[in-house]
């Protein structure tokens, strides 16, 4: 495991806090953690803002008002306006829609695909080599580079960003699920299940998959964060979501062009991005502490 071939695995950072290990269940452990509550609360607000964007935003995010071009933060426009007179706050809220939707979409698809591939290659040695060598090959690319390469061919659009990032993040999940599958497969209860005549399919779905679920959930949280950063990076480079769509990455790209005159254009979307990614990472740490206390003292 330690000497695996060229990997770009998502680093599973050590846990925030160490020490005492409460005995009660994961839900209580999670709710007893203030960092977890703060992160979950912030993300909940972000999701609500994204869902109800049309009701919450003071302006239409695409409405051009040449009379108020490049205005700094004010009572009318709390986060200022951009070089075409569009309201920055409204664009950030709409941008959150895109970021969260892409982050969630990528994670769900990559988790399903990665779990399927990981389960199969962990369970059937014949499938293992071709699948995992392919995953190794995909992990041999620096992740953002692979995403850029795929976007270069597919062309900018939100759907293509999801497709590209699924390719990038599926291998990490496949590798994770494979390793828990390899361990669980050896357990006596799997042998008993086989002895009573259960099919492979039910063994995989009812016994092996649930055993890897908690680490999958933790990893999934980090994948959401990584996918959001990657989408912003791609859009920033002009290879992500269509440049006219308000997204944090697109706003940062527009903002950098006028950085000398209008700091707010780049600063506010950047802060939105950092807070979202930060709380997702903290949530992932907290979930790991709650679901898998053994993984803490890695």
């Amino acid at each position: 495991m330690a000497v695996a071939t060229g990997r770009a695995s998502i680093p599973v950072a050590p846990a925030l806090t160490e020490g005492h290990r409460p005995r009660h269940g994961p839900v209580r452990r999670f709710f007893a953690n203030p960092v977890a509550l703060f992160s979950a609360g912030f993300l909940l607000l972000a999701v609500i803002a994204a869902l109800f964007a049309p009701l919450l935003t003071p302006y239409d995010p695409t409405f051009l008002d040449p009379a108020v071009r490049l205005q700094g933060p004010s009572a009318d426009h709390p986060m200022g306006t951009d070089d075409r007179g569009r309201d920055v706050l409204s664009r950030i809220i709409y941008g959150g829609r895109v970021s969260l939707a892409i982050g969630a979409g990528v994670t769900v698809v990559a988790a399903l695909l990665g779990a399927a591939l990981g389960l199969l290659s962990g369970f059937y040695p014949k499938v293992d080599t071709p699948v995992m060598r392919t995953m190794d090959g995909l992990m041999a690319f620096p992740s953002i580079l692979l995403a850029i390469a795929i976007m270069a061919s597919l062309g900018p659009s939100a759907g293509n960003v999801v497709a590209a990032l699924v390719v990038v993040y599926t291998p990490t999940i496949a590798r994770l699920v494979r390793s828990t599958t390899l361990v669980t497969k050896q357990q006596p209860f799997v042998e008993s299940a086989r002895a009573v005549g259960m099919t492979d399919r039910s063994i995989l779905l009812r016994y092996i998959f649930p055993n890897g679920l908690s680490s999958l959930i933790v990893q999934g949280t980090f994948v959401v964060a990584f996918a959001i950063i990657s989408e912003a990076s791609l859009s920033f480079l002009g290879a992500g979501v269509d440049p006219e769509t308000p997204t944090w990455g697109n706003m940062l790209r527009d903002g950098q062009r006028v950085l000398q005159r209008a700091w707010w254009l780049a600063l506010f979307p950047g802060i939105a991005l950092v807070l979202t990614v930060l709380t997702l990472n903290l949530l992932g740490d907290a979930l790991r502490d709650a679901l898998d206390p053994r993984a803490r003292s890695r």
């Binding site: 495991m1 330690a2 000497v3 695996a4 071939t5 060229g6 990997r7 770009a8 695995s9 680093p11 950072a13 050590p14 925030l16 160490e18 020490g19 995992m132 060598r133 190794d136 090959g137 995909l138 041999a140 690319f141 620096p142 992740s143 953002i144 580079l145 692979l146 850029i148 390469a149 795929i150 976007m151 270069a152 061919s153 597919l154 062309g155 964060a225 950063i229 912003a232 990076s233 920033f236 480079l237 002009g238 290879a239 940062l252 903002g255 950098q256 950085l259 000398q260 700091w263 780049a266 600063l267 950047g270 991005l273 950092v274 990614v277 930060l278 990472n281 903290l282 003292s297 890695r298």
Partner: protein
């Protein structure tokens, strides 16, 4: 050890083959005829046919792949469609900024990450530990390009201490080179430093609990000596593998950082080539970076096995 190295080299073959297939497939992922896409709407049928011939698109796919991959093995990535030179020449001109940026960022990652991790572990559960942990976690959450923009805003726009972009070769003017690379290298190295610090901290905490460290303390050796000479050596071994993967993240991050700071490296070339639909350049640059990454990882893994005799023949 020799057997292990040989085994690893053999394992490299399928990985490089998959990398090759993926990079090759990029052109064919494009919806429609790649030649027509490259030339745009106003191209005539003859132009498209000529480019198809030039790119060898009329041959069967396996033939195309064989020809392309054969070229790659000879470091021949074909001709750029836009630049009027070979891809290899274009990459050669731009490899220096990218490699130096990655190296500087790696140095910053090590210079910040290792001491911060050691300090946090030695002062475990102190306010210093908490502050360092918070900084490390936040650092990992700041995308390189946004940190770059923040640094430009502060040091170039507000304070006017450093240039906001551009590149001067070290052979041309070393002082200007250092000034120009300071912000990009920091932007790129800082978030990586956060991850490294957290890893060094946790592996250092493990090592500090070992018997031999307690013995060293019991013998009355000074803390500094125990930490640096006895504990750090073993704590750095797991950090080594992270440095391997970091190089990948840094090489990828360099692509973005070069765009923020307008550094004429391979990454900026890739980004510019996307708009120009210059596929041979995109393929060549990505192939070159991926192969570099694979080789660095191999090197790090070998170093890992070499430094830690406990890890031997640990196949996947």
């Amino acid at each position: 050890m020799t057997a292990y190295i040989l085994r690893r080299l053999v394992l490299l073959v399928p990985v490089l083959l998959v990398v090759g297939v993926v990079v090759f497939a990029l052109v064919h992922l494009t919806p429609g005829d790649p030649a027509a896409v490259i030339l745009g709407d106003r191209a005539t049928t003859e132009d498209i046919q000529r480019l198809r011939g030039q790119l060898g698109l009329n041959d069967p796919l396996p033939v195309q792949f064989g020809r392309w991959f054969g070229g790659v093995l000879r470091l021949d990535f074909g001709e750029s469609i836009f630049l009027g030179e070979s891809v290899t020449a274009a990459l050669r001109d731009r490899v220096q900024p990218t490699l130096l940026l990655t190296l500087y960022a790696l140095s910053i990652q090590l210079l910040i990450g290792v001491p911060a991790g050691v300090l946090a572990a030695v002062r475990h559960d102190s306010p210093l530990d908490r502050v360092l942990t918070v900084v490390a976690i936040s650092g990992a959450a700041i995308p390189t390009f946004f940190l770059g923009i923040l640094l430009i805003l502060l040091f170039a726009v507000q304070l006017r201490w450093l240039p906001s972009g551009g590149y001067v070769a070290p052979t041309e003017d070393l002082g200007a080179h250092v000034q120009g690379m300071l912000l990009p290298a920091f932007a790129l190295g800082f978030s990586a430093a956060g991850l490294l610090a957290r890893l060094v901290r946790s592996s250092m905490l493990d090592v500090l609990r070992e018997d031999y460290v307690r013995t060293a303390f019991a013998k009355g050796l000074p803390e500094k000596l125990v930490v640096v000479r006895h504990a750090l050596r073993n704590a750095l071994i797991p950090a080594l593998t992270v440095i391997g993967t970091s190089v990948g993240a840094l090489l990828g991050g360099a692509v973005v950082t070069e765009t923020v700071f307008t550094i004429p490296g391979m990454g900026r070339l890739v980004v510019q080539s996307i708009a120009r639909r210059d596929y041979p350049v995109i393929q060549g640059a990505i192939m070159a970076i991926a192969v570099t990454y694979v080789l660095v990882n191999l090197l790090v893994d070998l170093l890992y096995v070499y430094t830690d005799p406990r890890v031997r023949l640990g196949g996947d």
